[in-house]
């Protein structure tokens, strides 16, 4: 009997599959094993050292509660890590060709330069304009709230973020598991910490020295220290995701500030159920969407042929996109310090702020004149978000910098990349500014910061291309 080929074996993304496609994870899973070991190890120490004593001296309910919490945490973690986060299947060749034909705009003869076809289209969601971006990898216009995860190389529905700790993207299908994991982990952490501290205090009760207690129960000390240091970030994360769930936002949208009113434009979250409880219920217990990628489906010859045509198409079209990009970063003709060019005002502002945090001791004199050069109002938006930038670089969303002409945006990408990629403080900032965009450097940035929601490769390229053809933006109201 011939071996059955299942669809996960031909899956175009970079995910890892185990158990014949039942388990699906991100390509990098190292940190996930750290998470599992940390949780299992700490809980193991707790059950070995604290539980027998506490069950005897306080109540036998303690090991039971601890055990239940531990099972819940692990089950939620494994579900988050092993399930499909909501990957949107890539377009079939026919569909890709159809979209390609649709967005092709006839070039009018009187424009001197070739305008690449627009790569965004606008729809109205409950009266709120939402921009759908074209995904060059998946060959689709991404549905609202979807984003392309550059680590897994998939578009993910209601993309929240790519979480290396759970070794998977967090998206529409596994957000509820992720939230359950975070919240239950917070409870478990607090519970274990309290128990360990109680145990140590009870050991020192009879005027015994503290060292004696440590000698009697060294595990409790280890457990206490681990829990003490991790509980703060876990509690913070649980609080943050509770806030997101009550407002039906994703981390991605919150970082980008998608629903904050800007430049006098009224903005609201069109996906919200308009009340806190409704949002929570909908996000956490609402209808569970199905997996759309059919990873366990059997590959038919037609399916295989179609997949092969997709990969052929990819090679061909990549070439054309390559030529479309006429945006040249060096074209400004500005010599080494770009302090004179207006369109990089926002970039400079952001970069210099960022650098000041990185290289406090030797803040270079080059930085100052750049910072003063705030020209267009888009720089306002960026600089408002600088405090956040120090955290994780995420708010540098190229999409938000609208009035900039294409070369400026191109440089935004470059500058941000180079400063984050090369953190050597000795280099004068100006030298790094002109480094051209490279995918490998972007990848490096993403790997170091582990935040790729706002800065994924696709959106960067789209921003530079899409902006160049803003005049031709398709206005497509739904219906």
């Amino acid at each position: 009997m011939p071996r059955i080929t299942r669809k996960w074996e031909l899956f175009p993304g970079r995910n890892r599959f185990c158990c014949d496609g039942r388990v699906m994870m991100a390509p990098e899973t190292g940190v996930f094993y750290v998470t599992v070991c940390l949780i299992a190890g700490t809980s193991g120490l707790f059950f070995a050292f604290d539980c027998p004593f506490l069950a005897e001296n306080i109540t036998p309910a303690i090991p039971v509660i601890g055990g239940l919490l531990f099972i819940f945490v692990m089950s939620a973690l494994f579900r988050t890590s092993f399930s499909d986060p909501g990957v949107i299947p890539r377009a079939t060749p026919e569909e890709a060709a159809y979209i390609e034909k649709q967005i092709e705009v006839p070039n009018n003869g009187n424009s001197p330069t070739y305008r690449p076809p627009p790569r965004t289209k606008e729809v109205l969601v409950r009266g709120q304009p939402v921009k759908l971006k074209y995904c060059f990898t998946c060959k689709i216009f991404r549905p609202p709230r979807a984003s392309h995860c550059s680590l897994c190389d998939n578009c993910v529905e209601r993309f929240d973020h790519h979480c290396p700790w759970v070794g998977n993207c967090v998206g529409r299908r596994n957000y509820r598991y992720f939230y359950a994991f975070i919240v239950s982990l917070a409870f478990l952490c607090v519970f274990i910490f309290a128990c360990a501290v109680t145990h140590l205090i009870m050991l020192t009760r009879d005027n015994k020295p503290f060292l004696e207690a440590v000698r009697l129960s060294p595990g409790s000390v280890v457990v206490g220290v681990v829990c003490f240091f991790s509980v703060w970030s876990i509690l913070g994360l649980a609080g943050f995701h509770t806030y997101l769930a009550t407002s039906n936002q994703t981390t991605n949208e919150d970082i980008k500030g998608s629903f904050t009113s800007k430049r006098g434009q009224e903005s609201f979250n069109p996906y919200s159920q308009r009340n806190i409880c409704g949002n929570c219920f909908y996000v956490l217990c609402g209808p569970a969407p199905p997996s759309l990628i059919d990873r366990r489906g059997v590959v038919t010859p037609e399916y295989r042929a179609e997949q092969e045509r997709v990969s052929e198409d990819c090679i061909v079209t990549d070439k054309t996109y390559g030529t479309v990009k006429i945006v040249q970063p060096q074209s400004n003709g500005v010599a080494v310090p770009i302090s004179g060019s207006d369109d990089t005002g926002s970039t400079n502002n952001l970069v210099s702020n960022h650098q000041r945090q990185q290289q406090q001791p030797h803040s270079s004199p080059h930085v100052e004149p750049m910072n003063g050069n705030v020209v267009n109002n888009s720089s306002q938006i960026v600089s408002n978000e600088v405090p956040l930038a120090s955290l994780n670089l995420a708010p540098i969303d190229i999409d938000e910098i609208e009035p900039l002409p294409a070369p400026g945006i191109r440089q935004t990408g470059c500058t941000v990349l180079s400063t984050a990629g090369l953190e050597s403080p000795g280099l004068p900032p100006v030298a790094t500014v002109m480094t051209p965009l490279s995918a490998s450097r972007l990848r490096l940035l993403q790997d170091t910061t582990m935040i790729e929601s706002a800065l994924d490769l696709d959106s960067l390229e789209e921003a530079s291309i899409g902006r160049g053809s803003q005049a031709g933006l398709i206005k497509l109201g739904a219906i």
Binding site: A76, D84, E95, R126, R176, F281, T300
Partner: protein, 151 residues
């Protein structure tokens, strides 16, 4: 665990609602796009595509799309029973999904059945073929015009 996630799709891909081999390639395809005006729930545009003008009457087309929209609305409706299902699953640490099927998956079965029934009754006699939107990632409904080559 994901072990149960695949079942309905797997079944569908076996049947595909078309009885053999899936939609043919190299023929004209008409796509019905999603309608996002009310949010991200699955809903398709009901505008009648002009390419089908000589094959299909507007009523049967609109009936199909509206019916599909109703099925999806039913699947995604935030009703009391779905909430109970979600809460129960959460209380069991999501272990219940190993052995049961979600409401959504049941609805997808109904949709696959509806598509194949519409194909047999309406579309195939007129040289058309409707593809289950689930197999296209719920992005669009694909209608193949079987005897017309792709332009």
């Amino acid at each position: 665990m994901p072990m149960s996630n695949h079942t309905p799709l797997e079944d569908m891909s076996a049947g595909r609602g078309q009885g053999g081999g899936g939609p043919p390639q190299n023929c004209l395809k008409v796509y019905i796009q999603r309608d996002y005006s009310e949010g991200t729930m699955v809903k398709f545009q009901t505008r009648f595509p002009s390419e089908l003008g000589d094959r299909l009457d507007r009523q049967s087309f609109e009936y199909t799309i509206n019916q599909l929209n109703n099925y999806f609305a039913e699947a995604e409706r935030a009703s009391c029973s779905t909430y109970c299902e979600g809460c129960l699953a959460c209380l069991t640490g999501y272990l219940i999904y190993i052995c049961t099927e979600t409401h959504y998956e049941k609805c997808l079965r109904k949709i696959a059945k509806f598509v194949s029934e519409q194909n047999d009754r309406v579309y195939r006699p007129r040289g058309l073929l409707l593809t289950d939107p689930t197999t296209r990632g719920l992005r669009l409904i694909e209608i193949s015009v079987l005897d017309r080559p792709a332009s």
